[in-house]
Each structure stands twice: as structure tokens, then as C-alpha cells.
């Protein structure tokens, strides 16, 4: 994963960058499987490796394939990134080890869900019961975020040059009209 990340930084060919980011997502998905988070791995594989790669490729098709060489100094952004990364890694030092029995989440939350969710919800997949029922508000929020993304794309790109907007006249007729104006 680190290799792909560094390759993404160094490469200027955006097509390779998009493909590499897809590979990065797939590796992340395998990592989640190793951590026995199958639902998260599934999402990462379908959304991260699948659809986002595809959408980035679609974006590349309407922009250019090569990144422009930047003239400005990259010292300040680099130092900010390194400091932030170091702080984040320092933050993880306090976290309990993976699978530690005395981690706060393992002490009461997980026990409660494993013991009670079968009786309360009656669904074998605890992840689904948590996602859709215990934290239904958050999932509603996530759905609205996705909805907002679609609305944003429609507002930005759905107008003008998009032929497939409902009730839009064909492009040729529109161009003729503009010439008249």
C-alpha cells in the first residue's frame, strides 16, 4: 500500500494514478478482510476500487491525461503534510492494541451488541442492525450526503452542455439559436 501511495505521488500520468488508486483501494479492502471487517471491505472494494476509479476515468476523459508541472515551491505544503501525519501517528500510540480485551469498545459496547441485538432486532448480521437501526440517524445523514453529491454534480454539470437533461432541446438547434442572438 505504501508503494502504491508513493507511486501515486510521483507519477505525472493521471491515467496510471487513477488505476493505482484503484489498486490502493483493493489492497485496503484486503486489509479490512484481514481485520475481519467484511462489510467495510465490501464497501471499499465496490466504492473505492470500483465506482470511484470509474468516475475518475470519466473525469479524465473530459480533462487531460497529464498533470501540469507546478512552478511554485512545494516546501510549505510538504512540511504541513509531514507534521500532520506525524501528529496523527502520535495520536494512534495511545490507542489500545488491535483485539485487546481491555479496549473500551470491547468492554461493554461489543458485548452488549452481541448479546442483545439478536433479541432486540432479530437479525443475524450485527453490522446491519447497528447500521440501520441503532445508528439510523447517521445512516440517514450518509444517504443525504450522497444525495447532496448527486445534486451538486447536477447543478454544476447538468446544465448547458449536457444533452441528456430532460426537456433539453438538441445541441444543434441550441447553437443556431445562440448565433441568432
Amino acid at each position: 500500500m505504501a508503494c502504491t501511495a508513493f507511486a501515486i505521488i510521483r507519477l505525472r500520468n493521471l491515467f496510471s494514478v487513477v488505476i493505482l488508486s484503484g489498486i490502493f483501494s483493493l489492497l485496503a479492502a484486503s486489509l479490512y478482510v484481514l481485520l475481519t471487517a467484511v462489510d467495510v471491505a465490501f464497501t471499499e472494494a465496490s466504492v473505492g476500487a470500483g465506482i470511484s476509479t470509474l468516475l475518475m476515468l470519466a473525469t479524465l476523459a473530459i480533462t487531460s491525461e497529464y498533470e501540469k508541472k507546478s512552478e511554485r515551491s512545494t516546501l510549505l505544503p510538504k512540511s504541513i503534510v509531514i507534521v500532520t501525519g506525524a501528529v496523527l501517528i502520535y495520536g494512534t500510540l495511545d490507542m489500545p492494541l488491535y483485539g485487546a480485551a481491555d479496549a473500551p469498545a470491547n468492554l461493554h459496547l461489543i458485548q452488549r451488541f452481541i448479546e442483545e441485538s439478536g433479541k432486540e432486532i432479530g437479525i443475524p448480521n450485527i453490522v446491519t442492525s447497528i447500521l440501520a437501526s441503532y445508528r439510523g440517524y447517521d445512516t440517514l445523514g450518509e444517504t443525504v450526503v450522497i444525495f447532496t453529491a448527486a445534486i451538486g454534480v447536477l447543478v454544476l454539470l447538468g446544465h448547458g452542455r449536457n444533452r441528456w437533461r430532460p426537456g433539453k432541446q438538441p445541441k444543434i438547434a441550441r447553437d443556431e439559436q445562440e448565433e441568432e442572438v
Partner: protein
Amino acid sequence: MNNHSILRVVSKFMIPYILLFALYVQFHGDFGPGGGFQAGVIFAAAFILYGLIFGIEAARKVLPATATRILLCAGVLLYAGVGVAGILLGGNYLDYNVLAENAQAGQHLGIFLVEFGVGTTVAATMVTVFFVFAGQDF
């Protein structure tokens, strides 16, 4: 890509199974890994594959722009509507216990509807975003 006969044949063969797998992930999310988000993305992938191989124009005939826009809103409204139904039946917002005779059946129904709403919105979003990007004629 109209001339690639191998791609056309293989994608025609694959698309029904992709759709079927999406529905399986959607409705089997209670028992195995999966749920609305993943199912929506897989469902959208089938339409995007069709759009890639046969052209956006053909894909738009299958799934018109109006339809995706309606589905986009319908999913969020279904999710929020389940919450409102909970209030109307005397519970809290997004409280599924009151949706059916007993709490467990209510939870089942609520989660089913909510996941369905999520799946609809996600699928419509992905299809919309891709078609809007790919439909740009520069």
C-alpha cells in the same frame, strides 16, 4: 465501442448477473455482509457498464434522466418517510419497533425499507454522476 463484439457479447451476458447479485446483496444484507450502499453501487455498475459498451445514448433510453432524478429523491424520501411513519404510529423518529405488531417484526420491516431507500439513492446517484460526466460533449 460499438465494434468490439467480444465486449458486447460478454457484457450482455454479465449485466443480468450483476443486477441479480446487487439484489442479492441488497436483500441478503440482514444475514451476510452487504446492504444498501454496496448493493446500490453494484446495481449502478451494471448500468454504467451498459453505458460504456453501448453508448450513453442507449443507456439513457433504458434509464431516462427523469427516472434517475425521481429515484434519487425517492430513496431519501423513503428513508425519512420510515422515520415519520414511526412518529405517526406513536414512537420516536426512526423507531422501527412500532411499525409492526411486535418489536422484532417492526425492526425487520424498518431495516428492510431503510436499506432499500439507501440502495435506491446510491444507485441513482452513481448512475447520475457517471452519465452527467460522460454525457458532456466538449
